[in-house]
């Protein structure tokens, strides 16, 4: 599972945030047959053609992952960069495979292409309701089912620290702590890290690879100059 549903923010804050993910129906009762892994590999290979912001395999991780140094010099080494090839080559078991897009055109084009591929996998779009609706319309697909997020109860639009919640909830499993998001916000404000560096630091904690660094950079730029 990717737990993509409850990202905090209003619809306009998802302007550059489309998660398109595929998964097979695993229960025996569903009676689905065929090689789900092969279909998911194709899904992800096609996704990589449409300039995603991230690719993620819920089992093995995303395009930005924590590293493990073998020598003390690793402490002074350069940080790793997004590595899509590692995600594509590491897929070993069918599960939830996600592609994150930061452009409407790319997301919609990918959805249209996936419809044409007719892989037989369940495909979901996690974004604003209108973003998903428009993507379906562009591809000529009627929506099958919809899961509304009713938002975090009692967390209002003017809650202090809402930008930390916006950043933190981009990992739907809660692996990205609000404290780290706040620390990164402070680092950007103090010019100790760029928004890009801060976004990539946070992305390494999202083990499904669905953290959207483009949206995070935009939020951090707002934080830097005090836009609420």
């Amino acid at each position: 599972m990717t737990n993509t549903l409850h990202r905090y923010g209003k619809a306009e804050s998802f302007v550059d945030d489309y998660i398109v993910f595929s998964l097979p129906a695993k229960s025996k009762a569903a009676g689905q047959t065929g090689d789900a892994l092969a279909a998911q590999k194709r899904f992800m290979q096609i996704a990589a053609e449409y300039k995603p912001a991230s690719l993620g395999d819920a089992l093995h991780g995303g395009s930005l992952r924590p590293t493990k140094s073998k020598s003390i010099f690793g402490h002074w080494g350069k940080r790793n960069k997004p590595n899509f090839k590692k995600v594509l080559e590491g897929m070993s078991k069918a599960g939830t495979m996600a592609a994150v897009f930061d452009s409407r055109a790319n997301a919609e084009a990918f959805v249209k292409r996936i419809k044409e591929e007719d892989l037989g996998l369940s495909v979901n779009i996690s974004s604003s309701i209108d973003n998903a609706k428009n993507a379906c319309k562009h591809a000529g697909i009627p929506r099958h089912s919809i899961a509304y997020s009713l938002g975090f109860e009692d967390v209002g639009d003017n809650t202090p620290g809402k930008q930390a919640i916006m950043l933190s909830t981009m990992c739907g499993h809660g692996m990205l702590s609000i404290n780290l998001a706040q620390k990164m916000m402070s680092f950007v404000k103090e010019n100790r890290r760029t928004p890009k560096e801060a976004a990539e630091t946070m992305a390494r904690f999202c083990s499904c690879g669905i953290f959207n660094t483009t949206r995070a950079r935009r939020i951090l730029e707002d934080v830097r100059v005090g836009v609420k």
Partner: protein, 290 residues
């Protein structure tokens, strides 16, 4: 999870990355320490921090020396500079914390990594939520608060009292001793998890009633609730049955997970499919080969 005191240099990085805020630098020990009651065994520290192998005693000496000059040793914020975290051998009932909190650990009851089930994500294949039905996912614990099973029991008992049935493959349902009362096994009631999801399905007509039950329980439990409402769209892809009810109740949904209906009973056989250009496909904006 445990922190090896022989390796920890008390840099403090891990105190920020713990989603529960359960790690602190003990002023007497001068080492990072875990509040075990608050720790949910999510492994965000162990899995999320990059691992480095600086020599602990040297780092401590450097830190002490620099501190005299009011200069701070500051490793990258997402590294443990001495690889001090070590997984603990978890036993029952503590092991349920990890099963519900670490997304990479498949839950025994569902075989699926995570805290819930496939919900409407595979509805195009399973037909789990049909026309005229509503699937509720009631998640407790996010963002960054956590929840104990006694909180889930408070919610499940209230829902059971209303005569709803719980999704049988959901991990919380499997820990109930009686699904007709919503009782959860007593030996785990005090265990804390990052979050978990109670899943139920009711006719559309009961939507408002269920929402009011959730609101009532929310007032009594010391955690956060976030609700997902899954419904089937009509043949034109529209959903006009549940959204008006939610709006009447004061909600203005902004975000959703939309199943676009491409799932089939038989997955396409790709044996003779044209290959995707790997070179073209594997070159993102900032591609590197590690």
């Amino acid at each position: 999870m445990k922190i090896n005191p022989a390796k920890c240099v008390a840099c403090g990085n891990c105190t920020y990355v713990c989603p529960m805020g359960a790690i602190y630098i003990d002023p007497l020990l001068q080492r990072a320490t875990i509040n075990r009651d608050e720790c949910v065994e999510c492994y965000a520290c162990y899995n999320g921090l990059s691992k480095e192998v600086l020599p602990p005693s040297t780092v401590r000496f450097v830190r002490r020396t620099l501190a005299n000059f009011r200069v701070r040793f500051e490793p990258e914020p997402d590294v443990c500079p001495t690889t001090a975290f070590e997984p603990d051998q978890l036993e029952w009932p503590r092991v349920v914390r990890r099963a519900f909190s670490d997304p990479r650990v498949p839950h025994e009851s569902t075989g699926v990594s995570g805290r819930g089930t496939e919900e409407v994500k595979t509805n195009d294949v399973t037909d789990r939520v049909g026309i005229g039905e509503v699937g509720f996912t009631i998640e407790l614990g996010r963002p960054g608060i956590g929840a104990r099973f006694r909180d889930f029991q408070e919610m499940s008992r209230a829902l059971a009292k209303a005569g709803v049935s719980f999704e049988k493959n959901n991990p919380i349902s499997t820990l109930m001793t009686d699904v007709t009362t919503g009782d959860i096994r007593t030996d785990i009631l005090n265990e804390k998890v990052m979050s978990a999801i109670i899943e139920i399905k009711v006719p559309v007509a009961r939507t408002e009633e269920i929402m009011r039950i959730i609101w009532e329980v929310e007032k009594r439990i010391p955690t956060q609730v976030v609700i997902g409402v899954g419904v089937r769209c009509d043949a034109d892809g529209e959903e006009t049955m549940v959204l008006p009810i939610l709006e009447k109740l004061g909600y203005n949904p902004q975000r959703a997970k939309t199943n676009i209906g491409l799932g089939r009973k038989v997955i396409r056989d790709l044996t003779n499919a044209a290959p995707i250009s790997a070179d073209k496909g594997a070159q993102p904006k900032e591609m590197v080969t590690a």
